[in-house]
């Protein structure tokens, strides 16, 4: 078959058989491998993938990124499925119904190849089907929350996008059922995914289908109830999830505010730390008005004879001293200092972007209460037994709801209403239709615990359980996930959720930290050496087995071409860097692939009819730490008590490389520069 030369300029003219629009993570090694393999082939290719990253992200709902015929049936049987296709091809060819030469390829992850898929792979190879099995090996099983999620941290609530590595996060201690603080060990961007909203009576959260939640498992009368992790897709209406109802008593906030030197009411006294009175003042502020630092003005829209005005006048005098003026509808303070001070506290500027800033969550109970009372005085009104708070700012309602929930209040969900144009609002009429939201809340009553014994956590100080009322698809949103040390869970939007993970497979390298073999204080990660699948496949005595890496594209392409010219079963193991599971940078997939080859962690070789040949010898063999250092999953190996593991790893690599060189035929190719 006349083959196209392997030159990038020529290859770039070929059609993309794996299109953009797929949903693999930014910087993933696997689509690079698929692209390179399909570019190398001059034959039409039919592919099969087992369940895995590639399958789920390339063919989802009614979209497919494959421009070649592609099939997926299950997790453990890609080799058997493609064997079936290849058999039908042979049968139809024999009957004269097909005359084209077609190549059959499997693109399978290491999970579906080394572990659950091993049996069908071995069977298919033994039977001699004419197929090429390509394993994209990223060394683990590699799931998220919407970026609008609010996380409980030591410094108050933060949007998940604001959480950083090293932050102290609140978690649920799964042994004592108490609130604990744990370190965040990583933040992951999972891209845009389908997001579902889970709603309970008082809480709601948006997450993807595979995000685990802590659910109560009732084990029956006389037995201890337990908690189990269930993925969102497994949760049923009526399941009880664990929610946060109280935070630890906090400390008054300290303010670091310096007054402006020149001009203005220097007699204004700015307090150094928070107090219940100040919080009440701020509560009223949040409800009612604005501060204009540039103009040096703070204004409250509180008409005469309202209770709120009385309170604010008293409080102002108590906290700040003098300087407050009033007319029929408004109360003013002209003070650059006060305006700046309030602005610095983070409550937002105008009606639409107000919110409860994170630090309010760290205050002691009395101060939080004061704040809530201030809010109730200003913008809420009683409806029956509960209070209703209205606002145009969704952020404010969300943060307020969380604050109320953790201060012994019961809160309903956020309702929307539209106020039509022309409605009177304080002294103005609305110029157009405006969207408002409101929440209803009331104090949690000290219930007789006997009545609620079915509520498993009723005596628990911090946590409660709530029944799931609905789970609905709400759309596609950017998603993020956190890794939390120790308990591996955190509290998002008041609900206890798991950090998703990266579980070990038999391809996971020695010493790696994954969620199912975590690097703890006693066991430092995975203690088993990874399976050498390439050599296992070579022992099947199939005509061609090879190891390749995407950074060495020419070597990979040559191997694919060689494989396609051979009849019978072929196997290729290709390293696929995964920045999520490896906890490396988004841009270093190719770099890590190159380092893997140069450190001889992933030697490039082939076994053709039983004869081993190294196809690339690194110019200079680098120490293994060069490959390990850029990866977060090996970070714990660089602690002093784990130095022995680094030595072991280097020794193992050296041993294997020596052995490989021994069995390799003398025709080793010298290190060739990969660029032309």
């Amino acid at each position: 078959m006349a083959t196209q030369p392997l030159r990038l300029k020529e290859l770039s003219k070929k059609e993309d058989l794996f299109t953009y629009g797929h949903r693999m993570c930014a910087g993933c090694g696997t689509p690079i491998i698929v692209k390179i393999v399909l570019l190398a082939s001059d034959y039409p290719v039919i592919a099969c993938s087992p369940t895995g990253c590639l399958e789920v992200s390339s063919c989802i709902s009614q979209y497919t990124a494959w421009k070649i015929p592609w099939i997926h049936s299950a997790f453990e049987n890609a080799a058997a499925t493609i064997a079936g296709v290849e058999s039908m091809y042979k049968a139809l060819k024999r009957r004269g119904k097909i005359d084209k030469e077609i190549k059959f390829v499997v693109f399978g992850g290491d999970g579906g190849t080394y572990d659950i898929g091993f049996q069908s792979l071995s069977g298919a190879m033994e039977r001699g089907h004419d197929m090429l099995y390509i394993c994209y090996d990223n060394g683990a099983y590699m799931n998220c929350l919407s970026t609008s999620s609010l996380i409980m941290t030591k410094d108050g609530i933060k949007k998940i996008t604001e959480v950083k590595e090293g932050d102290d996060i609140y978690a649920f201690d799964q042994k004592t059922y108490q609130l604990v603080l744990k370190k965040c060990t990583g933040v992951f961007d999972n891209g845009i995914k389908d997001v579902y909203e889970l709603e309970t009576l008082h809480h709601s959260i948006k997450a993807t289908v595979n995000h685990p939640f802590l659910v109560l498992k009732r084990n029956g009368r006389g037995r201890q109830n337990t908690f189990v992790w269930k993925m969102l897709k497994e949760i049923k209406i009526g399941d009880e999830v664990v929610t946060l109802k109280n935070l630890d008593g906090g400390k008054s906030a300290k303010f670091n505010f310096t007054k402006v030197k020149n001009g203005d009411n220097n007699e204004i006294n700015i307090p150094e730390s928070s107090s219940p009175d100040l919080m009440k003042y701020l509560g009223i502020y949040l409800g009612n008005d604005w501060a204009r630092p540039k103009k040096g003005e703070v204004r409250f829209a509180l008409p005469q004879k309202t209770k709120a005005r009385e309170v604010i006048m008293n409080l102002h005098a108590k906290i700040f001293g003098n300087g407050i003026r009033a007319d029929k509808d408004y109360v003013y303070i002209n003070s650059v200092n006060l305006a700046n001070f309030i602005d610095s506290l983070g409550f937002g500027e105008c009606a639409n972007d107000k919110k409860v800033p994170g630090w309010v969550f760290t205050l002691p109970k009395e101060e939080k209460e004061g704040f809530i009372q201030g809010l109730m005085l200003s913008d809420s009104y009683r409806v029956g037994k509960s209070c209703r708070y209205v606002s145009a700012s969704e952020d404010l309602l969300k943060t307020l709801r969380l604050l109320l929930q953790t201060t012994d209040y019961r809160v309903g969900k956020i309702h929307c209403q539209t106020k039509k144009k022309g409605t009177k609002c304080v002294k103005r009429t609305l110029p157009k239709d405006s969207q408002y939201g409101y929440i209803c809340f009331n104090k949690r009553c000290r219930s007789k615990t006997d009545k609620y014994l079915s509520q498993f956590l009723v005596k628990n100080k911090y946590f409660d359980t709530e029944k799931v009322k609905s789970i609905k698809l709400v759309g596609r949103e950017p998603t993020l996930d956190l890794r939390v040390d120790g308990e591996h869970n955190f509290i998002a939007d008041g609900i206890v959720v798991h950090n998703t993970g990266i579980q070990r497979s038999s391809a996971t390298p020695y010493g790696a930290d994954t969620t199912t073999c975590p690097a703890g204080s006693v066991i430092p990660g995975k203690l088993q050496q990874r399976k050498d699948l390439t050599r296992i496949m070579a022992a099947h005595n199939i005509p061609y087995v090879a190891q390749a890496a995407p950074s060495h594209w020419l070597d990979l392409m040559k191997k694919v071409r060689k494989a396609f010219e051979i009849k019978g079963p072929k196997f290729m193991n290709v390293l696929s860097p995964c920045n999520r599971g490896w906890r490396s940078r988004t841009d270093d997939a190719v770099l890590l692939s190159r380092l893997a080859v140069d450190t001889c962690y992933w030697p490039l070789y082939e076994v053709e009819n039983g004869v081993t040949r190294i196809t690339f010898k690194p110019k200079e063999k680098k120490p293994i730490v060069d490959f390990l250092r850029p990866q977060g999953r090996f970070r714990h190996l660089f602690e002093p008590q784990n130095e022995w593991m680094l030595k072991e790893i280097q020794e193992e690599i050296d041993k294997e490389w020596k052995l490989l060189q021994k069995c390799s035929v003398a025709e080793e190719k010298e290190a060739k520069p990969e660029d032309e």
Partner: protein, 97 residues
Amino acid sequence: MKPKGWRELPLGGVILEAGNAVEFKTGGWRAFRPVWNEENCIQCLFCWLYCPDMAVIVNDGKMEGFNYEYCKGCGICALECPGRKGQKAIVMIEEGK
């Protein structure tokens, strides 16, 4: 894509329009975007080769720029770019700047 009713579904869920993932624009995932400085480009085409999202536009063997509708901003192209005389032909800048 509008969700279909059960009568409109293809038999067994088979997807007959190969490669229709192009209808799903992933450009919105970016936090950083690649910018091409033509004067430093030696037309090695590594950016095109290593882009996981096929977002580097190459016509007639020549690199011409990026398809920002799909580029996820991973930065592999910028890192792998050899550039000319030590100056990269691709740099990553913050999206929105």
